[in-house]
Structures are given as C-alpha cells and as structure tokens.
Subunit: 115 residues, 4 copies
C-alpha cells in the first residue's frame, strides 16, 4: 500500500467535489469516530469467539468500515500534515516502555487496567 499516493487520491477526490471546506480536522475526527461506531455495531452482540469467525456478509461489512476508518485517518493526516511514520515510531517506543515484556506477560489483570 502506497500511503502517500492514497492521500493524494483522497485529497483530489475531495477537491473535485469542493469538499475541502468541510474537511476540518474537527469534522474529520467526528467522521472517523462515527465510522468506528459503525464498526462497533457489527460486533456489539457477538461473542468474542464469533468475532474471530466472521461469515462472508459480515466480513465484507467489517472490511468496508475498516477502509472508511483508514480513509478518514489519512485525510486527517494530510490536512494536519502529520508525519505518520514518525508518529507511529514514537508510539511503538512509548508502548515498549509502558508495557515491558516481563511485567505484561500473562498478566491479565494488569492488562485489564492498561490505558
């Protein structure tokens, strides 16, 4: 996946429709959260096990929501000119420091309280 090319495609798509004025980071954050709510809805009455074994119809629906979330995420990244690689690197480093293997391993209670 070429993330930068995809960002350009999305920006061009918005420009062609004069949508940029609507694409404030505030609004895009709302759209991303609304899509993540649609993803939730697909799983809300399922058991965890069921969520690991999706039927064809639900799988397609989940994939569409994941794509929607990614597209709004990339529009946000583009509008705010975020260096996504650097942000991910920093987050991976933070997580490694926050959850050292020796403390996290097999520690479900701890895990339940992370975040």
């Amino acid at each position: 996946m070429d993330i930068e090319a995809l960002q350009k495609t999305l920006a061009a798509f918005a420009d062609a429709r004069d949508w940029r004025p609507f694409h404030s980071p505030k609004n895009l954050a709302m759209a991303l959260a609304a899509e993540s709510g649609e993803l939730l809805e697909l799983f809300q009455w399922q058991s965890e096990l069921q969520s690991r074994e999706l039927g064809a119809e639900q799988r397609t629906a989940v994939e569409q929501e994941l794509a929607d979330i990614l597209l709004y995420l990339l529009r946000l990244v583009d509008e705010l000119q975020v260096d996504l690689d650097a942000a991910v690197e920093r987050k991976l480093k933070t997580n490694a420091e926050k959850y050292p293997v020796e403390l996290a391993k097999g520690n479900a209670t701890k895990y339940n309280r992370r975040g």
Copy 2:
C-alpha cells in the same frame, strides 16, 4: 510506511506479552473506538478553524491518537486477515459511484446528508 512489516511488529509485540487472547476483533474494535473518542476529546470545544491551526502540545497529542488508531486498525486487519488494499480499492470505487462530481460539487446541503 511498510504496512505489512508494521503488522508483523505489532503481532510480535502482542505475542511477547501473551496479549493475543485479548485481541479478539470485538475487543480491538472497542479499543479503536475508545481511541477515536480520545481524538474527539481533543477537538470537542475547538472551532473548526482552531482545529486547523493546532498548537505544538495539541498537535503532539493528536498525532499520538492517530498512531493509536492506526495501530489498532492494523491489529484488526491482521487478526481478521483482511486484504486492506483490496478493501480500500473497493471503497474508493464505491465512493466514486456514490458521489459523482457533477452532483457533489459545491452542494453543501447534499453533503450534509451524505452517509
């Protein structure tokens, strides 16, 4: 950004901590939605204009949330073995059909009702 390498890094991170049993798609969808709620919180009292001109501190916070969202999204993609490229391609095609340029252009009212 090498999406596949990142997915492997995240899976290894989870495995090293015995977190896989917690990473059901249901749970990961909740975590992704919770992170998108944190993103919302950063923008909720700002004007749209303010959201386009972030101060340094808020920019860092926004970048961290965007990274968190991407990481949970990629864990979901990995757990469900989704072909993300294909899902994005389908979504772009759907959006192009749903919002033809001639109808969408400058049509704020229409836009307000999309979704």
Copy 3:
C-alpha cells in the same frame, strides 16, 4: 430523579462559567461520544462475564462515565429543546414494532443482525 431540575442545574452551571457558546449541539455530541469512548475503554479487555462482576474501583469509574454521558445528553436535550419523554415513547413504540416477541425470542442469529 427530577430530569427537568437537573437540566436547569446544568444550564446554570454552564451559564455561570460562560460556557454556553461552547455548548453547540455539535460540540455536545462530540463530548457525549468522547465519554462513551471512556466507558468503552473500561470494558474493552474484559470478558462479558467480568463486565457483569465489577470490582469496586472499576464500578466507581463506570458510574462516573455513566453520569458524564447522562449530563451531556441532558445538556443536548436542553439546548435543542427536545421533548425527551415523547422521544422515548416513540422509540419504545418503534422498537416494539421492529422486534416483535414471536420473531425475536431466542433468536440469537437474528439479534446479531439487528440494528
């Protein structure tokens, strides 16, 4: 619980702090969704069974989030001058028509697809 009195308390609280300009329905909807994200976070790594048997600390945290959600909901109701009783009545009627007992009973598959 006296819902109307509570709405007045909340409006007075906002007025005393000059917060009304921030309390557009758009912003309040974001705040409500952000709080519902915090609620999610409290349950995201738990099993369903664990979520039914909360420890004291988590119970307190859950109660605080539920209160936050209710307070933003009531601010929204007040700002938009919604007749909440009437809205609830309509929704109960809609649900009764949408999910007749004879079809819904014990029908987990159906339930999984509601919404």
Copy 4:
C-alpha cells in the same frame, strides 16, 4: 419522566425476547457508543451554528438517537444496579470543584483543555 418505571419497561422488553444474555455491560457499552456514533454522524459536516438550528427531518433523527442513547444507558444502569442519582450527585460535586467559576469564566483557552 419516571426513570425507574422506564428501566422496568426496558428490562421486561428484553426479557420477553430472551435478550438478557446479550445485555452484558460490555455489550451495552458498545451499543451505547455505536448510537453516540450515529448522533455524531448527524452533525459531522454541519457548522456549529447549523447544529443549533435543525430542520424538521434532522431534528427527528437527532431525537431518535438521543432516545436510543438514553435507553442503553438505563439498561446499563439496571444491569449493573447503579444508583444513578448518587452518581449524578457525585459528578456534579466533582465538576464544581474541578471548574470553579472564577477560573472557568470566559476562559476559552482553559476550557479547550479541560478533560
């Protein structure tokens, strides 16, 4: 609005359909968050001003989402046997301490960073 009577109505509605096994707090929190995502979607492309002046159709849609959110909130309160009055009282007290009038008044920057 008689909150306790409403809780009983909702519990009876769920019981009549054998839905209680699905109504774990974890699942109900997901459903509440999904509904709050639908509320977001109604406002996501609007200006704050537009969100204060809803047309008839959107008003009805917003009212339905607010009712949905309240109903899931009350199901959660019932399943967890939360004393909602007490939780609200505590939250009001906390907010009064956290945002004293003299500090909060007219202080938009501060407000932007609350939470």
